[in-house]
Symmetry: C2
Subunit: 233 residues, 2 copies
Amino acid sequence: MTNTPSDRPAIVLLSGGLDSATCLAIAREQSFAPHCVSFDYGQRHRFELDAAAQLATALGAASHRTVTIDPQAFAGSALTTGPAVPKHAPDDEIPPTIPVTYVPARNLVFLAYATGLAEVLGAADIFIGVNAVDYSGYPDCRPEFVEAFAAAANLATKAGVDGGRLNIQTPLIDLTKSEIIVKGVRLGIDYAQTHSCYDPAPDGGACGACDACLLRRRGFEQAGVADPTRYAS
Amino acid sequence: MTNTPSDRPAIVLLSGGLDSATCLAIAREQSFAPHCVSFDYGQRHRFELDAAAQLATALGAASHRTVTIDPQAFAGSALTTGPAVPKHAPDDEIPPTIPVTYVPARNLVFLAYATGLAEVLGAADIFIGVNAVDYSGYPDCRPEFVEAFAAAANLATKAGVDGGRLNIQTPLIDLTKSEIIVKGVRLGIDYAQTHSCYDPAPDGGACGACDACLLRRRGFEQAGVADPTRYAS
């Protein structure tokens, strides 16, 4: 990772997971000054917020803030107030339908908030670690959503009206999970600091069997990288 | 206003101002069951939140909630932490540039949140009282923004993926302020209950000189309707 000073502020959506950590490292590699934002929306896997704070420091963020989102809009998801997080056997296929862990309009809300923050901080770039290859089937991770959002955000803001351009950067969109891991290792990320599990044990250990754990575990296997995740079982 | 029972839930963005109150009355007239949402985003004119709660009851909302939005994304606007709200003489032209009362990406954030809420409540319609005729020059009140947002929201959500459709309803978009007032009076709105001023006196009296007061006052004049606003001076 370079330490080139930069005057170009960027917003980085940092959940504390593997993908967003890699996204932050890529923003730094591209000489942005990354201003990270994490969201507390009543998620069951709140360990990710501690991970986010730690990662922001470790990966050279220019700033980090945790923003509380009133969880009323997100009720009913398995990640918040809804049914239990589904578990899988290690070799299970993840079905190609929208899972119960889908949180209504989550990335739409996160990106909208980041757009406001970008205007306040004078940033023309927002990084989001969405990924359309090894992902959980959420509609708001698809490239067509990101493109449509960018069009709306540019029409909503002063930047867009003044002839500027807000860019939604999705450096992971076409990468497999293992390619993301290989890239992150090259950029010096300690993935032990990242938290992916949707249903961690009380001490933060990963369950090893939810969608997020399964995709993560397979990613490390395919990358040929030792999996540093602390599993509960 | 009809009292037709309805099973069609809709989300109505209710600021407590004249436009959103009229929007709520129109949603009721169209036999929707309106679930209203107001946002506490650190605005100086917080009197509007009390007005919103009162209006929701008076105009037959199915529910009303006030959602807190972390104001970090909205910093610097004259409506929050920025410079003083500009005042005008009664005959001033409102300049056609984006004013300092613009709040970064506000309608983008509000609509994104409403989209999540629509999924949670099973609503296919979101009403927003934006208006592109007698308005303050905010980019996120233009029809092209609303259309682009609807495209993004439909791609972001389960409804869109499942072949459903989320509709962003803008019944005021082509109306002048006086036409809005005439319509609202016909629907039985008591505009004394609405609050438009960006910079009210400590007792809630309207300043009479900010953009919002000026547009409102002229609207009543042009409509030939007695202005029920309680002015501070």
